[in-house]
């Protein structure tokens, strides 16, 4: 396994739309291991998307298990993930490996359903909420060439109670 180099904004390649994985073969499995190694080398980071290391395939990893206060499904490798339904919204603070030294508030769906293939090529589906759902939406945005700084919401807060998790 090797740690891969992370592309940093304003690198144009972060804007590229990633392509679906056609077959989960040894090459893909090997890449996933490298991506996992890269993610685990970043303290405090809960997700990564393949295009962040310059591989423009629709693969993401999300692992919120280090933050047990948030409901989560553990270590997730999702290939060709698709959000099939979403509900509600919440504003929360995000940062990104590809945007160093900046965090900001982003509005995301509070509840999502996501379908994908797992690392063995089997179909999986999850219902998620809050922090984990935010991570998935952030990573899927990377697959579409979008960054969290494209969707920042204003700094003056409303008095409404928000989920800022």
């Amino acid at each position: 396994m090797v740690q891969l180099e992370i592309l940093v904004y304003p690198d144009d390649r972060l804007r590229q739309v990633s392509q679906p994985v056609k077959a989960v073969d040894d090459k893909i499995t090997g890449f996933i291991a490298d991506l996992e190694e890269t993610l685990s080398s970043q303290p405090g980071c809960v997700g990564i998307a393949a295009p962040q290391v310059g591989n423009f395939l629709r693969i993401i990893i999300v692992d919120v298990s280090s933050r047990p206060q948030h409901k989560n499904h553990g270590h997730l490798v999702l290939i060709n993930p698709v959000i099939t339904s979403k509900k509600g919204s919440s504003v929360g603070r995000e940062g990104c490996l590809s945007v160093p030294d900046y965090t900001g508030k982003v509005n995301r769906s509070q509840f999502i359903e996501v379908k994908a293939l797992n690392r063995f090529g089997s179909k999986v589906a999850f219902q998620m909420e809050g922090y984990e759902a935010r991570a998935i939406q952030h990573e899927i945005d990377h697959l579409d060439g979008k960054l969290f700084i494209d969707n920042l919401v204003g700094n003056r807060n409303s008095l409404k109670k928000r989920n800022e998790l």
Partner: protein, 174 residues
């Protein structure tokens, strides 16, 4: 040699102040760092980090004609331009209540006891002149638990009759 300055500009608000100030600074070879502008009680206020090879007096001379024209108070301080070391907040507070003396002192005093470092504070006076309301938002970092912050704020909530909402901020990095 490049120096960093903090410029503070205050005056009556009107459209175009930021545009004119930043144009003058750009034309003089200045580079802007972080900035924060707010309209406070109808006044234009801005703090701007400026990087420029000029000495302090030269920066003042650069801004004086514009300050006269726009009727702005200008203040220039030499600073250390410590960029790329942002501290992320881990708590957010919303405070509101009838406007009364001492809300800010009471709330921030309780926070200071826990070494809460305020990173961002914004407050507004709303309501009517007869019944003003005070609304404040604070974001900051403290190396303590949510419950110890709640405990420290509790007495002043009952004492002052204000509403304080306290939320943890857990930044999602991915």
């Amino acid at each position: 040699m490049q120096n960093w300055y903090m410029l503070t500009l205050v005056g009556r608000d009107r459209p175009g102040i930021v545009a004119e100030v930043s144009r003058v600074l750009f034309d003089a070879g200045g580079n802007l760092g972080e900035a924060s502008m707010a309209r406070l009680g109808g006044n234009f206020t801005v703090m701007i980090m400026l990087q420029i090879s000029s000495e302090k007096e030269e920066v003042e001379n650069l801004l004086n004609p514009l300050a006269d024209q726009l009727k702005l108070f200008v203040h220039v301080d030499k600073i250390i331009g410590d960029l790329h070391h942002h501290v992320d907040p881990n708590f957010r507070l919303s405070v509101h209540g009838a406007d009364q003396a001492g809300i800010v002192a009471a709330v921030t005093g309780s926070l200071a006891l826990l070494e809460f470092n305020i990173l961002n504070l914004e407050s507004d006076v709303g309501g009517t002149p007869e019944k003003p309301i005070y609304i404040m938002h604070i974001e900051g970092f403290a190396d303590c638990s949510l419950s110890s912050l709640e405990k420290s704020l509790q007495p002043l909530i009952s004492e002052k009759g204000i509403v304080v909402h306290l939320f943890p901020i857990d930044t999602m990095v991915g």
